[in-house]
């Protein structure tokens, strides 16, 4: 089986179909290690991707005023048990442009490997970007994964991000996002993670609301089982009149797993407001009992509650 086949056959595990690579209306990049296996652009999208010995380096630009109808698929991963992958990419969404990026990070057989994504994302005035990143890892764990990004949201622009790691065992995951939001800009960062075994999750998301009437939401859902652990930090700063932010973190801990959640809110303007809520614990007793009173066993009830939270 080729490296390309090894990667794309697990695309359904992150909700995508291999057929997207054959569709000429859909832009895509497939990278294995530091090599680009497949790529396609579409009108309105400039895709400049190159291989270097120690990274895949690229720039993706959605031109001003363009609406990219079909999601842009970025598939990165490793087709072997060991190896390293570094991705450095700059994404520019020009003024009033709109696009949706689906990023698939695929490590079906990885056992001792490393993946690092360093992205800068610049969203111009009135533009909109939806970025969904789905990870698929095999059962072995043992990986080190570093998705790091620095994002600037221009005046009246919108950015919606959704990170999910719902199947397989990752090893070590270290997410670090910094988002700066200008006047009337909106950001929503959502993360859903199901950690098993000895997985170690570090998630740090910071939203800096610089502009007037800017809005930010950080929503994190983490379920831990086995001996997994998680350290979650959600930071929101509001610097301008009318800025509004909220941090919402929920972690469910089962077995010997353990977790911490640190919501940090800072307000630097009297007419700004930031709120937060954080909950860590086992599955809610009342939810459990409600389902058991309908005949579900404790195990079935926990499964239903957890799948809902991670949906």
């Amino acid at each position: 089986m080729s490296e390309l086949e090894t990667l794309i056959r697990v695309l359904p595990m992150v909700g995508a179909e291999p057929a997207i690579l054959d569709d000429e209306r859909i832009a895509h990049v497939v990278g294995q290690g530091h090599r680009v296996l497949s790529r396609r652009s579409v009108p309105g999208l400039d895709l400049d991707i190159e291989e270097t010995p120690d990274a895949i380096v690229g720039k993706m630009t959605i031109r001003a005023g363009m609406v990219i109808e079909q999601p842009i698929h970025m598939c990165f991963g490793l087709a072997h048990p060991t190896g390293s992958q570094n991705i450095r990419i700059d994404v520019v969404v020009e003024e009033r442009a709109t696009a949706r990026v689906l990023s698939h990070c695929l490590f079906p057989v990885a056992q001792a490997a490393r993946h690092r994504m360093q992205a800068t994302i610049d969203i111009g005035p009135g533009a909109s970007l939806t970025y969904s990143e789905g990870h698929y890892h095999g059962p072995h764990g043992g990986m080190q994964v570093f998705p790091h990004a620095s994002i600037r949201i221009g005046k009246g622009a919108r950015y919606f991000s959704d990170f999910s790691l719902l199947s397989g065992s990752v090893g070590s995951l270290d997410i670090d996002y910094l988002v700066e939001v200008e006047e009337d800009g909106i950001v929503e960062l959502a993360a859903k993670i199901f950690a098993h075994g000895t997985d170690h999750i570090t998630l740090k998301e910071a939203v800096i609301l610089r502009g007037e009437r800017s809005r930010g939401l950080i929503k994190t859902r983490v379920v831990l089982e086995g001996e997994a652990c998680a350290d979650i930090t959600g930071i929101t700063e509001a610097h301008a009149k009318g800025a509004r932010g909220h941090v919402d973190c929920m972690e469910i801990v089962q077995g010997l797993a353990h977790a911490s959640a640190i919501p940090i809110v800072r307000v630097f303007h009297p007419e700004a407001k930031v709120t937060h809520e954080a909950a860590i614990g086992s599955v809610d007793k009342k939810e459990l009992e409600t389902l058991m009173a309908r005949g579900l066993s404790p195990e079935q009830a926990v499964e239903m509650i957890v799948s809902g939270i991670l949906r």
């Binding site: 409600t290 009173a293 309908r294």
Partner: protein, 261 residues
């Protein structure tokens, strides 16, 4: 006490002949202590198949505690007494085993479930269950509600109705409804009444915990609970009349504090 005794001698007037059938639920000398305080005090009563039994009582009289003990909620193990349900020792069963035997509870303040759709909540993985008629019966449009989540986006009244729809879908032998009309607007009370009757039409019995007299009035029989004891039992109209009384019939309000303005 004469007044109390007279009330307790009443028989049901709505066609459920209590002495002729084996009780579906048979509670004997049920006692529940928290520290030295008796929350339930040697409680005796029975519910027969397809009987709607209203349980009235002031706040703190022990109604919800009884519901939690019967359902087997965590921390609600009685201090003494027995409960037989369909001829089985109910107290020896786990909560979900009680549900599988045909007992269920609609909560006074139902839980919310992030990410779980109303369709999933009503069917709980049972392919044979069609949730649409149950939703329609509680006055909610299935097309608008089935794919919504059972989460904070629902109002208290909507969540209550969905709880009742979930009970309807389960077709229980005995449904404990804890304040089913709480948070329901007056115009929609008839939906609640229809649901209670539908449970009976499906062959089930209902233990109806309520403060609302128009809801209690549809019962076949009723009891009034005060300070953990049944103080009046029999025809709903008479029990409601006692409940309307100026003070508690048992203790004149000295113990339970139930004194009407």
């Amino acid at each position: 006490m004469n007044r109390l005794s007279a009330c307790m001698m009443q028989t049901c007037s709505k066609g459920v002949v209590r002495t002729m059938t084996v009780p579906l639920l048979d509670i004997r000398t049920l006692t529940f202590l928290v520290g030295d305080q008796k929350i339930l005090d040697r409680l005796d009563f029975a519910i027969h198949p397809m009987e709607i039994h209203a349980l009235l009582g002031a706040n703190g009289s022990g109604k919800t505690t009884l519901a939690y003990i019967l359902m087997g909620c965590d921390g609600y193990v009685p201090t003494a007494g027995t409960v037989m349900f369909k001829g089985t020792d109910l107290l020896s069963l786990k909560m979900y085993e009680r549900a599988k035997l045909g007992l269920t509870l609609a909560w006074q303040e139902p839980a919310r479930f992030e990410g779980v759709t109303i369709r999933e909540y009503l069917t709980l993985g049972r392919a044979a269950v069609n949730p649409k008629p149950a939703l329609a019966q509680v006055g909610l449009d299935p097309d608008r509600y089935l794919n919504r989540q059972v989460d904070k986006s629902l109002s208290g009244g909507e969540r209550h109705r969905i709880e009742l729809a979930s009970v309807l879908c389960m077709k229980p032998a005995l449904a404990i409804l804890d304040e089913p009309s709480a948070g329901i607007d007056m115009l929609s009370i008839n939906h609640i009444i229809n649901v209670i009757r539908a449970i009976k039409d499906n062959g089930g019995a209902v233990l109806l915990i309520t403060h609302q007299e128009e809801v209690a009035a549809i019962a076949d029989s009723a009891s009034q609970l005060c300070n953990g004891r049944i103080v009046c039992s029999g025809d709903p109209a008479q029990v409601i009349e006692h409940f309307r009384g100026r003070t508690c019939v048992r203790c004149d309000g000295e113990v339970c504090g139930y004194v009407r303005a």
